[in-house]
């Protein structure tokens, strides 16, 4: 279907950016230039290249190493949240598309309600009760993803249910579960992958915001958001501290967004590229 068409520039750029970041996160599992949590007060607030590639923070920690270790945390939380919320939402969406009726209406109204709670707001609510941390941040982001995926998968699944071959399968006596597994899921998988990629960008952005407020992974574990929060204190003396983490977050979000757009252009031939 799409074979032979050269990948668009957005797909290539998105793939390149996300591949590099994923590689950095993986490398950081085994190696960083310095231990990311090691303090060296004597070398504190050194500008880039004066000590390490990106300088040091107020505790003399190596900024590049913290960024690398932060990739592990930030991308990890984002991936877990999208996987969790995406699976739950898809299950709901595909389920109600098969059942329809009252349950369908109730679940969709439930989605309207869930949409009214931005992840930061639910993270504060959950954080106050369960204590802030990586699990709370993941849960808060995942909860926001559930209605997103429920709507997308329901819409896509309803289209599949109206196709002739599904009608034929029903005529042949196949049950809703079998049809959902054999026909609906494979046919909507592409749209779900696109959605998941785009939501990954949003999840990275949200995780950064949560860590910025202290609602993410607890210190001393490095995260991009908290690096920015720490940088705020030394804004005037050491402005470079605010540049690298922010640019890294933006790059990660840009990468996932480009990848999602590129995949959508490719998977949906009716859409002209660049729309």
């Amino acid at each position: 279907m799409t074979a032979g068409r050269p990948p668009g520039p957005r797909l290539v750029a998105g793939l390149a950016i996300t591949a590099v970041l994923a590689a950095v996160a993986l490398v950081a599992l085994a190696w960083t230039p310095e231990p990311p949590t090691r303090m060296a007060i004597l070398f504190k607030l050194r500008p880039p290249l004066a000590h390490g590639l990106l300088g040091t923070d107020a505790f003399g920690r190596d900024v590049l190493s913290m960024l690398m270790a932060g990739a592990r945390n930030s991308l990890g939380v984002a991936l877990a949240a999208v996987a969790l919320g995406g699976s739950a939402g898809t299950l709901l969406g595909v389920g109600v598309a098969a059942r329809r009726g009252l349950v369908d209406g109730l679940v969709m109204r439930g989605c309207d309600v869930a949409f009214a709670f931005p992840p930061i707001v639910s993270a504060m609510m959950l954080g106050a009760l369960l204590g802030p941390g990586r699990a709370t941040a993941t849960l808060a982001i995942a909860l926001f993803m559930v209605p997103v995926f429920a709507r997308v998968s329901r819409g896509a699944a309803l289209q599949v249910w109206s196709r002739d071959y599904v009608l034929a399968a029903r005529g042949a006596g196949r049950g809703a579960l079998a049809i959902s597994l054999d026909h609906v899921l494979p046919n909507i998988a592409g749209q779900l992958v696109v959605q998941a990629t785009i939501q990954l960008g949003l999840a990275v952005l949200t995780e950064a915001g949560l860590s910025f407020l202290g609602l993410g992974a607890p210190p001393p574990e490095p995260s991009w958001g908290r690096m920015l929060a720490d940088a705020q204190t030394y804004m005037v003396r050491a402005p470079w501290l605010a540049v690298a983490p922010g640019a890294t977050i933006a790059l990660a979000v840009l990468g996932f967004n480009l990848l999602g757009d590129g995949l959508r252009d490719r998977l949906d031939p009716r859409r002209s590229p660049g729309r």
Binding site: A116, P118, V121, M124, A128, G209, A242, I249, L254
Partner: protein
């Protein structure tokens, strides 16, 4: 039309009730005793019991929900444990910062996004389009709190053009108050403008490709007239939709940006309530946030009726 409106209002009331029930359920059903959380681990049992009575936690859950909802409907949100003042007054005071901030951010993002999106669509494939699309893509990816930090550093600290943070209050006159809101609003608006530019561009392109526009063009309508008479007005429907959906992100953004600029808004109040374990305030502010999102989306639904006569005629939208 009236029947449609009353049906919508009934739906709005039901959704708001569900939101209130959810907030209450999360705060009271989840493990964790609010009074114990507020007092900390070293609280004496009699202090804990007293706070339980004061917060009404000794009553059964449905009674507590009824009291809270009844209070919220009559503007009585209870008393803040940290500030010792009525929460309603606290919320009203903070809304006077957050709502103007949100509206300023929306106004700025629309003012940038509409012209840019229409321009990009009108010059599809040309250099201008590529540039606008790339900028929009970049804008969407920028964290608003990072933009806030950069704006503080460049515009406030280095150039000294605008205040770096804080809020003088509306009593100080609209000038200084607005000046304090410009940078935070810009930080909130830029990523929003990126999204809106893309939506506007796509929406205008979609309308330009519709049969009625092609027919009009074939009958001699100029490209310019087709753009302004047909494409732009029709493209407003998806643009307004996205604007409504983005309101929830604007609310989330206000928590972060108010924190960067030290603005005494509702987002900052929520964060302080969280940090100080003031669950009474937190529960009320979360309800106000969610209700704002729902009401804004309700208004967006109504705006469709004004913007799209087809929906009005059908009456089922």
């Amino acid at each position: 039309m009236l029947a449609l409106l009353s049906r919508r209002l009934l739906g709005l009331a039901a959704t708001l009730l569900a939101v209130a029930a959810l907030v209450f359920a999360v705060m009271s059903v989840l493990p964790g005793d609010p009074a114990a959380i507020m007092l900390g681990t070293s609280a004496r049992p009699d202090t804990l019991a007293a706070l339980h009575r004061q917060m009404g936690l000794d009553a059964p859950v449905p009674v507590r929900f009824g009291r809270w909802l009844g209070g919220a409907l009559t503007g009585d949100f209870g008393v803040s444990t940290t500030y010792g003042v009525p929460v309603a007054a606290l919320i009203a005071e903070r809304l006077a910062v957050t709502l103007p901030l949100a509206f300023l951010a929306i106004a700025l993002s629309v003012a940038a996004a509409l012209p840019l999106g229409v321009l990009a669509a009108a010059r599809r494939g040309q250099a201008v389009d590529v540039l606008v699309t790339a900028l929009a893509q970049l804008g969407v990816a920028l964290p608003n709190f990072w933009l806030g930090l950069l704006l503080v550093l460049t515009v406030a600290v280095w150039l000294g053009w605008l205040p770096a943070g804080g809020f003088p209050g509306w009593a100080a006159g609209p000038g200084p108050a607005l000046a304090a809101l410009v940078l935070p609003a810009l930080a909130l608006a830029l990523p929003q403008a990126g999204i809106l530019t893309r939506v506007t561009r796509t929406a205008v392109l979609d309308v330009l490709e519709e049969d009625f526009v092609r027919t009009a063009r074939a009958k001699g309508l100029s490209r310019r007239a087709a753009l302004w008479r047909h494409a732009v007005p029709n493209a407003l429907v998806p643009v307004v939709t996205v604007l409504g959906l983005q309101f929830s992100f604007l609310i989330a953004g206000s928590v972060l940006v108010e924190s960067v600029f030290g603005l005494p808004g509702l987002g900052r109040l929520a964060y302080q309530a969280f940090a100080q374990r003031d669950l009474v305030v937190l529960q009320d502010v979360v309800l106000v946030f969610a209700a704002l999102v729902i009401v804004v989306n309700f208004l967006v639904d109504l705006a469709y009726l004004a913007l799209d006569p087809r929906l009005r005629a059908r009456g089922t939208a």
